[in-house]
């Protein structure tokens, strides 16, 4: 792994979003993650960067891959990792977010990883604790480590991000993944497109520095990266789009639509997938899919983030 002292210092105590990071900050994290990736492929995956440190995973929303990814990243860096299950905690008894933060803070953790269903909740919690806080997804706002792992995956395959055409397709309206990716990819010089029915586009999207397409076939033309988003099933049935079959027909990625993108276009999805809805299995499991590699890079990126933040930990 990279010698920490060789990389530029990461000047933030928390990672609450991509917004607020400089291009240099982002590239530093990507370089560190790139260096961390091989560790997970070794027999001995352990380092001791965070030995003695306590990491709490506080997930107010169900998560499989993000929570386990943060857990593994912490453990591989030597931290003691505790998973707070909200289902059995005081939160269920009506404790406020701030009270939960104060309570956890009193236990002297070093890093808290937080996912919350309300936009801005992670930021609020960060202001009430003395340790570092990492946003693992807040409402429809940001999911910074997902954007970083997406960027790392792209960079490893395309050797660059500058100048690439990246099409983000699906439920942009509710997606924190889309927001973080739009900011990060734009900051690194990619041309970002979003593709969705108007009912799944946030107001003012045109002013957010992206090209907007309602017709997927047009939006995919010449794309180097096709990034599909998950559509929550409860949003399908007539509320935002009429039905699964209509969505699949007009906004699902199949080989037919993928053929409109660049000949060497690659396909991504943050998971979990609705197979046959936003992505056809032949694409998800096909030769151009980076979906499994995204998961692997997730661990590397989270290790890099924890490492970068460790330099600001208390008592250091």
């Amino acid at each position: 792994m990279t010698d920490i002292s060789a990389t530029p210092p990461f000047p933030h105590r928390h990672l609450l979003g991509i917004a607020g990071l400089s291009r240099l900050d982002i590239e530093t994290l990507l370089d560190m993650a790139e260096a961390a990736a091989p560790l997970s492929r070794q027999v001995n995956k352990k380092k001791d960067t965070l030995r003695g440190r306590t990491q709490i995973n506080l997930f107010f929303e169900a998560s499989t891959r993000t929570q386990s990814s943060f857990e593994l990243a912490g453990k591989r860096l030597g931290a003691d990792v505790m998973n707070m299950s909200v289902a059995t905690s005081s939160v269920k008894k009506g404790e406020t977010l701030i009270d939960t933060a104060v309570t956890l803070n009193a236990m002297r953790p070093d890093i808290i990883i937080v996912r919350h269903h309300q936009s801005g909740a992670v930021d609020l919690l960060a202001r009430k604790v003395d340790c570092s806080v990492v946003n693992a997804g807040d409402g429809s706002h940001e999911h910074p480590t997902q954007a970083l792992l997406d960027a790392l995956t792209i960079r490893r395959h395309k050797k660059r991000i500058e100048g690439l055409v990246v099409a983000i397709c699906g439920d942009v309206l509710h997606s924190r993944v889309a927001r973080s990716n739009m900011i990060l990819l734009s900051a690194l010089g990619a041309r970002v497109r979003v593709i969705a029915p108007s009912t799944l586009l946030p107001a003012g999207i045109e002013q957010m520095g992206v090209e907007v397409y309602r017709d997927m076939r047009k939006g995919l033309a010449g794309a180097d990266i096709v990034m599909m988003l998950r559509l929550q099933l409860e949003r399908m049935n007539g509320a935002f789009v009429p039905s699964l079959r209509e969505y699949a027909r007009f906004y699902g990625l199949d080989n037919d639509k993928l053929a409109l993108a660049s000949p060497d276009a690659l396909v991504m999805h943050p998971g979990p997938m609705n197979r046959g809805v936003e992505i056809d299995s032949s694409v998800a499991d096909g030769p151009r899919s980076l979906i499994v590699e995204q998961v692997e890079m997730g661990v590397a990126v989270r290790m890099a983030v924890l490492e970068a933040l460790s330099r600001h930990l208390p008592n250091n």
Binding site: P197, S198, T199, R214, A239, F240, P242, E246, R249
Partner: protein, 429 residues
Amino acid sequence: MSHVPIALINARLVDPAAGSETKGGVLVVDGMIAAVGASVTRDQIGSGATIVDCGGDVVSPGLIDMRVFVGEPGAEFRETIATASAAAAAGGVTTIIALPDTHPPIDDPAVVDFLRRRARDTARVRVLPSAALTKGLGGKEIAEYGLLKEAGAIAFTDGFHSIRNSQVMRRAMTYARDFDALVMHYAEDADLAGSGVMNAGELASRLGLGGIPVEAEAVTLDRDMRLVNMIRGRYHAALISTRMSLDVIARARAAGLPVTCGASINHLTLNENDIGHYRTFFKLAPPLRHEDDRRAMVAALADGLLDVIVSDHNPLDVDNKRLPFGEADNGAIGLETMLAAGLRLVHSGDVSLPRLLAAMTINPARILGLPQGRLEKGAPADLIRFDPDEPFVVDAAALHSRSKNTPFEDARLQGRVKLTLVAGDTVHA
């Protein structure tokens, strides 16, 4: 496909698109208009075509009726595609837009397909299905506009139903815009309409009937205009009936919004007084209004603010009409009498003949993106011939519709249709 050409000669040609009348003829070859104008004469055509001497009668494009309940599927006891299209052919209507308020409703591509097949097999005129704006016409979940449009739905409407939930209406318009789908909406605030059964006012009070205020239409229409302003999708106010609604439309037009509007022939030619002593054949939705509103509607037709006239053909059987006024269903048939009733406005000097016909031909054609409704070379040969002055008395029993709930029973009208061609084929003569 290859028929003997037909030449309609010696006609008074009314071109609603140009707003003009000329003398001449129309030559029909292979279902299309091959020539039109003064050059189409017996001498010019020669013996290669069937000659129809129109003797100075009007020849115009066939009518396009944007609002027709055809009964199929599910209400075949009231109407079928065969009987509706027979009524249409007799009334000079060559294209019908079918409403989706059927059983099951037209909210699924398979039902659109069913209707198109039934029309192909049983209809004399063109029958184009509209499809539901919301699933089950329930006003809650948006329908599959993309798949429905691919299946052949021409436009989207909840028919007799008005969408109450503004968020649903917003999403419907937003999603429809992506597919360039036309939204046709019947605007009525259900809460303001309440349990009313006729126009609110003195007459309703004297009759002891619950009234529906003109605001019930305007409030929902106003909301819709604000949503159109936000979304900028195509919107057609399917059925307006009041001066107040016309003002709403006029303001939207002045602001450049992509809005059109239609009214039923009933609201242009009848008023609330026709209800008389609880005559349920005049119970309509929206209700027949005050004479001032009717006059405003006619003026709007004359000056172009009102784009479209529909029959709002709604066949109802006796069981649903021969009831106390408050319990009877809303609706009247109209396919067969729309033209002649409309000609009343021409004979009274309120509207020119080309303007009247434009509201039944070229205007709906443009709104729906159809190639017919035009009297020009290359257009489909959907044509009608009529003498606008020929008097007749409406005999309800002789009407072709399966239901006989006409508000023009025994009315003295002028302008019976003598010949109807659809794609060059004679469907009524």
